[in-house]
Structure formats: structure tokens, C-alpha cells
Amino acid sequence: MELNILIAGVGGQGNLFASSILAEYVLKKGYKVFAVETIGAAQRGGSVVSHLRISDAEIYSPLILAGKVDILMGFETIEMLRNFELLAGDGIYLLNDYKEPTVLCNMEMDAYPSDEEIRAALKKSGKKGYIIKATECARKIGGSLLTNVVMVGALCQVSSPFDSQEVKQVLAGKSPARAKEQNLQAFDAGGSLIQEAMRKA
């Protein structure tokens, strides 16, 4: 068994928390884990990419090979698109329909791709995937900072070896007391969102 998850987002979206929940769960299940994130521009609106590799055999490279990403989680739209080429032939993407314009887009020196363009390109790629409104959902629950948890909740419905109930317990254990309630709510909401998306697909 080998599962490679790539989380692409922008600074402040909590890639690391999402990655560490998933890591803690699979470590408990006895798998090996090797993970890494690009940190540096994390706070100042830069791109942040987390690689999470899970396997029952030895893992050597912390970075996932191009073409070997099984699950591409996009916390932000163009950040996912930027890493799309890394997705395996049978890999799936899970996109949060949320757009954070770049500085150059704000200045109209660059154009943020339109929904039509994005959907067309994704369709043309032939890859399987789901688009959910995780940030919108997070805001309803308590704030956009919950986006990562919504996404993790969604992921657990589409990928083994994650068991929603068990991952939820890990999440509860890792949540600070004041955030626990909302985290668990966000996690469940992510599950519902993806189920709805799957029904529609």
C-alpha cells in the first residue's frame, strides 16, 4: 500500500494541521509516514505545499514524484492547478472552490482563470475529482480557518485507509479545547459536502 497526498494552498490555510491529523491517524494504524512542507512564504500570502507520503514499506523521498500524487487536495484553486501535473493517471483531486487573487491579478497585470476555463481544463485532463465549497462552509461554521478541517472531513469519505469516525477521534484529541466543537462540526460538514458532490457526479 502506498498513498501520496499533496495539499496545495496559500499561507494561513493550515496545511500543516491537516497533514498532521492524517499522519497521526495512519501512524496509529501502523503505516510509515514521510511528510514535508514548503515553509518560508507561509505567512505572507505565498504558496504552501505539503507532501504526505504513507506506505507499509520504506519511504525514501519526502517529496512525491511527479505523476505519483494519488490525492491532490486544493485548499485554493490556482494552487491546486499549479500542482495538477503531479497527479497520477488514476489520482483524484479534491478542490475547495475558493479563489485568493494574486497581487498581479489584483493589479490586472495577470488574469485569474475563470470558472469556465478551470472546469474545461479539468474536464480535458480526464482526471477524476470533486469540487466543494469548503471555505464557504467553514465561514458558516465559525471562520475560514476551519477550511482545512472541512477538507480533511471530505477526504476521509473518498480515500482509504481513512475511517471518518476514527480520524474524527484523532482530530478531537489534537484540537485545543476552545476549537474542538467547531472542528468536529467542520469535519462532519466536509463529509456531507463531498457526499453531495459524489451524488451529483
Binding site: V10, S20, A23, E24, L27, K32, V33, F34, A35, V36, E37, T38, I39, G40, A41, Q43, R44, G45, G46, S47, I59, Y60, S61, P62, L63, L65, A66, G67, K68, I78, E79, L81, R82, F84, E85, L86, L87, A88, G89, P101, T102, V103, L104, C105, N106, M107, E108, D110, Y112, P113, E117, I118, A121, L122, K124, S125, G126, K127, R139, S144
Partner: protein
């Protein structure tokens, strides 16, 4: 089974030092290495200290080593450059208590202003032994081994992890924590006085530097033996006559490539410098060609070529000098591609990638929404443009002022260059105002020397110190201007304005960087003065302030009047708060990200943005 913990490479190295009984850990923040020191600071028996700069950190460690206790210096590659002068002396005297230097490299410069291979200065220049780990567990093992060997060999040992090892997270085994030794000092002037001093050695009069240089060279033979037996080097048999030399993180990528391609290659795994000579020769003799995978310069490749030349061994050696990319970081993808080039029949095993048919906009770094610097930078930009002046820059969050949309600073080099470069521009006879902008941590790091030099040289310039009370860019570490130390305990803070005044600056004005008119007024006055005028823009980093509740503004909703907005775009293309968007000829406020700092109210001269 030994107890294990899921640790980041930096934490694993910190843990290794703790297990080895380290007593003094000193460093200066820098990605990728900062968390090593933060980790050890959780152990109350250890003296952990963020120092003013890396040279000072290494000097502190050597002081501790003189007293027979174990010490560790932590820095990133740029910092190792700063510490090099001292390093070029401590290699001659050697150490007493084990001294380990962690020098974190950032191939591809993901969080740095350059990419650099610090094995070159530490090994090829200072002739210190270097360990190059491939994963967090090995990084920890290397730190521990380095402490023991350092004491045994009386040499400072360097552990040089690359960013992917520093930031990699995996299970790491925990072992017993050894108790560190007690401090005791004994004089040995024949060793610890490095100076041009004649002494009689082996019957001949020799200068001290030559004597100590000879001592260092003689150590190399012993080191070679140690490395021959090191667990960090080994040979793996495989098919074919092309040997893969996997150094440091190169081992991770070579092993991953074997898995992908389903083929076992002959591999020489290397983690030490000097190299295990006999092991290398034993491996190379069976090969026609060697491919060296290393980050990021062709260091081992060069050493191998030299060795084979001396041995008269005919083996072709390729690597980062051309066959593999000479810039950027290695990856498993690069390793796979290179092996497919050597074994074309393996191409079918290469994972297919399908590029997305679409142009994806790039994302450049900027200041956070609500960052106190945005107001100061706006005022500086207005003033600099008005007088057609030049602004030199330095490293830190404020450096994003040099990218679009601000495009303010004209230079960025290394820490502390802004004021000296501004002085040079002024001394060249340039007849417009010259400004230098520098962060507080960078100011203390060595920027202060540039300031003192400028004052003494009689130059006319304006130096702006961005005093946010922290080293924000690298993760909010304290510095000598902060009121706390690494553990959050109170520490005496050094006041930049008082320091500048005492040094003889013409003026030292303290301004609130959120207050654009106040910043403008201070700049206007400073431009007209002779000598060095200092402006200290004091306000805690917004991200820190948001946490501690010390906000530099009273949050209040702002509104944009569409009727009044004439679409001039100044708020987005000149000022550039990311919470202001522009579409269909009008600016809009994105309330999802706006933090209500109100700076844009001052920026919009048409009065289209107002407090609600």
C-alpha cells in the same frame, strides 16, 4: 522496540543534541534551521539563546567548549558565511567540549536570497568534518555521533542538512538523555592564542598559524580512518557498471528511483566528508561510470575526480557539473529522469504526467493584510518618488516592498547591506536623496555597523529601521530589541533610537508605521537634513499583535463609495493591500480578508474609502 516520536528533522537534531548532553545552544534564526534551537529551548537545563548574529553564536559555543561542555551552533547557510571568519580560527585551535555546527542549506533558495552549498566553506575551506544526512532519523544519529567524535578528535563537527531534511517529518527513535559535563576552564595559551607568533616546533622556528595549520592537516589522516568505519557510508550491490553515488538527500532520491524503476543499481551511499577513501575505491573499481547525486554543488564529484586522478583510476564521473542540473534542488523526479537517460529501456516505468492546458498565474510574496509596514512603505514610496531618490533594501518581511505592486527598494543582497550600499551611492556623487530600509533584527545582526560607518563617514542619507520587535520573516524569534528571550522570559531590550542618537545620528525620529502622514512628515524632515537621519518605525508585527491583543490600530469597518471611486487604482497598484480588489473599473473591499486597519482611507485621495 525503542520509543519513537513523529518529529520534524529540525526537532530530531535538537533531540539528538539533548540526548548527547548539550549544555549551550546558540544560533541566529534562518529557514530552514530555526526549529532546532526552538526545540532545545524546551529543556530548562540547556542554555538556549538567539544571538545577535551567527558569528557571535559560534563564538559563544566555542567559549562553552573551552570549558569542556558540549555546545551547538545553529544557522542557515547565509549565516555560516557570517560565522566563517571565526570558523577559520577554531579549526586551527580545535575544541574541548564537543562542538557541533548545524548549517541548514536551502537548495533552490525556497526561503533564501541565494542557493548555496555550505559544505564548500565548512569542508573545502575550513577543513572541518561534515555530515550530510538523508532523513530526520539519520540527522539525529549524525548529531549524536558528531558530539562524540568532536570531543574525541578535538574538532568542530558540521552537520549540513538540506531544507527537505530539516522540514521532513517521520518517526524518529528516542534514546536515553545523557547528562552533560560540568564547566571547568584550564589555560592553554599555546593553543587558544591564535596570532602571528613565532614558536619552536620540531626544532624549527615556525609561525603559530603554520603550526596550527599543520595540526589541522595532520588531523585529516585520523579523520579519514574514522570515516572509513562510519555507519553513515555504505555500499549496496546492484546490476550494471554504472554506480550511483548517493550523497545526503541524494540517497533518498536514488532509492525512490530504484523503487519506481524496479531495478537495483549499485549504490554508494555517502554521508561524510572526508569521504571513506577505501570504500569509494572499492566501489569505483568495479564501475565504468559514476553518477553523483548531491545537493547542490559538485563537491563530492570534484573530490572523486581528484582521487581517481591520483589513483590512476579510469572511471568517468558525472553529476551536478553537467549531467544533472547544475542549479536548483535535486528530486526523485530528476533522479528517475537521469536513470531513464542512462537506461532508455526503463522509460516505460516512468510515471506519466499530463500538463494542465491552462496558464496559472504566479503568486508573489507580499506583506500580510494589516501589516504595519504597508503604511510606512507607502509614505516612503511617496517621498522617494517625489525627490527621485533611491531606496536600498535589506532582508525581512519589508523586503516584499521591492516586488510589485510597491517596487520601492532597488537592491536586496545579504543581511545588513542596505545602509553601506546607500552610503556608496551617496559617496559616488549621486545628487538625489538616498534611503536605506532595514528590519530591526537585521539592524542588530550587523546593520548597526553600517550605520556607525555611515555616521563616521559623514554621508547624507536617511536610514529607516522597521522596528516590529521580532524577527518576523523566519517565524517571530526575539532579537536584542525584543523584550523577551527564546523562552518568552523578560530580557533587556535595546532601543534603536537611543542607540542611533548616542552614535551621533543627526536625528532619530520614532514614528507609527500605520500613520502615513506622520511617516511622511518625518521623511520630509529627514531628507532635508545633513548627515545620517534615522527613522524608527515602531509597532509590533501585526500577526504577533493580533495574538497578544496589542494592535496598533482600532479596528473599524471601512466602506468604499463606488460613486466616488474613479478607478485610478492607486489603492491596488501603488499601495497594494491584498484585501482591496479591482474589477470592472472600480475598487472593492474584500471583507473576508480586510482587517479594518484603515490605512486605505488615507491612501485614497478621492475620499472614496471612508470609515463607516
Amino acid at each position: 522496540m525503542a520509543e519513537q516520536e513523529y518529529l520534524m528533522g529540525n526537532e530530531a537534531m535538537g533531540r539528538g543534541a539533548i540526548e548527547a548532553g548539550v549544555k549551550v545552544v546558540a544560533g541566529y534564526p534562518g529557514t530552514p534551521a530555526s526549529e532546532v534551537l526552538e526545540y532545545v529551548s524546551k529543556y530548562p537545563d540547556v542554555h538556549a539563546e538567539w544571538c545577535i548574529n551567527e558569528k557571535v553564536a559560534l563564538e559563544i559555543c566555542m567559549g562553552a567548549s573551552l570549558c569542556n561542555v558540549r555546545s551547538m551552533a545553529v544557522m542557515k547557510h547565509n549565516g555560516t558565511n557570517v560565522a566563517l571568519d571565526f570558523m577559520m580560527h577554531l579549526n586551527y585551535t580545535g575544541v574541548r567540549g564537543g562542538l557541533v555546527l548545524i548549517s541548514g542549506d536551502d537548495p533552490a533558495g525556497i526561503s533564501s536570497q541565494n542557493e548555496e552549498d555550505s559544505r564548500i566553506i565548512t569542508r573545502l575551506d575550513a577543513h572541518l568534518p561534515v555530515f550530510d544526512p538523508w532523513c530526520p532519523q539519520e540527522a539525529k544519529d549524525m548529531v549524536k555521533a558528531a558530539f562524540d567524535l568532536s570531543e574525541e578528535m578535538e574538532l568542530c563537527f558540521v552537520v549540513r542538512p538540506v531544507a527537505r531534511v530539516c522540514h521532513g517529518r517521520s518517526m524518529v527513535s528516542l534514546e536515553e538523555i545523557k547528562k552533560g559535563g560540568e564547566s571547568h576552564f584550564e589555560d592553554d595559551r599555546s593553543r587558544f592564542i591564535m596570532s602571528a607568533l613565532m614558536e619552536v616546533k620540531d626544532g624549527a622556528a615556525l609561525n603559530r598559524p603554520v603550526v596550527r595549520h599543520r595540526w589541522l592537516n595532520q588531523k585529516q589522516a585520523v579523520l579519514a580512518k574514522v570515516m572509513e568505519e562510519s555507519p553513515f557510508n555504505h555500499i549496496e550491490d546492484g546490476e550494471g557498471k554504472i554506480g550511483l553515488v548517493a550523497c545526503g538527500i541524494g540517497y533518498a532520491f536514488v532509492k525512490e528511483a530504484e523503487k519506481i524503476l524496479g531495478k537495483k543499481f549499485p549504490v554508494l551511499k555517502l554521508g561524510t566528508l572526508p569521504l571513506p577513501r577505501n570504500k569509494v575505491l572499492q566501489f569505483a573499481k568495479k564501475m565504468d561510470r559514476l553518477v553523483v547525486y548531491e545537493d547542490s554543488e559538485a563537491v563530492v564529484e570534484g573530490i572523486l575526480k581528484q582521487l581517481f586522478y591520483d589513483e590512476g583510476l579510469k572511471v568517468e564521473v558525472v553529476g551536478r557539473s553537467g549531467f544533472l542540473p547544475s542549479e536548483g534542488e535535486l528530486s526523485a523526479t530528476i533522479a528517475v529522469k537521469s536513470l531513464v537517460e542512462l537506461y532508455p529501456e526503463l522509460e516505460k516505468k516512468m510515471p506519466a504526467t499530463v500538463p494542465l492546458e491552462m496558464k496559472v498565474p504566479i503568486r508573489t510574496r507580499t506583506q500580510c493584510v494589516g501589516c504595519q509596514y504597508r503604511g510606512l512603505l507607502h509614505a516612503l514610496k511617496l517621498t522617494a518618488r517625489k525627490y527621485k531618490g533611491v531606496v536600498t533594501g535589506d532582508i525581512g518581511c519589508y523586503d516584499a516592498g521591492s516586488f510589485p505592486p510597491l517596487e520601492l527598494q532597488s537592491t536586496i543582497y545579504c543581511m545588513g547591506s542596505s545602509i553601506p550600499m546607500a552610503s556608496g551611492i551617496a559617496h559616488s556623487g549621486y545628487d538625489r536623496p538616498v534611503f536605506a530600509i532595514i528590519g530591526d533584527s537585521t539592524f542588530f545582526h550587523n546593520g548597526v555597523l553600517g550605520l556607525l560607518n555611515a555616521i563616521h563617514s559623514g554621508v547624507d542619507l536617511v536610514a529607516i529601521v522597521c522596528d516590529n520587535r521580532t524577527t518576523a520573516m523566519t517565524g517571530f524569534q526575539p532579537h536584542p530589541g525584543s523584550e523577551i528571550n527564546v523562552r518568552g522570559e523578560p530580557a533587556p531590550a535595546i532601543d534603536v533610537a537611543r542607540l542611533a542618537t548616542a552614535a551621533g545620528a543627526t536625528s532619530a525620529r520614532v514614528v507609527n508605521p500605520y500613520d502615513i502622514p506622520q511617516c511622511k512628515e518625518a521623511l520630509e524632515k529627514a531628507v532635508k537634513e545633513k548627515g545620517v537621519s534615522v527613522i524608527v518605525a515602531t509597532m509590533p508585527c501585526y500577526l504577533v499583535a493580533r495574538r497578544t491583543g496589542e494592535l496598533g490600530f482600532t479596528p473599524r469597518k471601512v466602506v468604499l463609495d463606488e460613486e466616488r471611486c474613479n478607478g485610478c487604482k492607486i489603492c491596488v497598484t501603488f499601495f497594494g493591500c491584498p484585501a482591496i480588489h479591482f474589477s470592472e473599473g472600480k475598487a472593492t473591499i474584500d471583507y473576508g480578508t480586510c482587517v479594518e486597519c484603515g490605512m486605505c482611507v488615507e491612501v485614497c485621495k478621492r475620499g472614496a474609502i471612508t470609515w463607516s
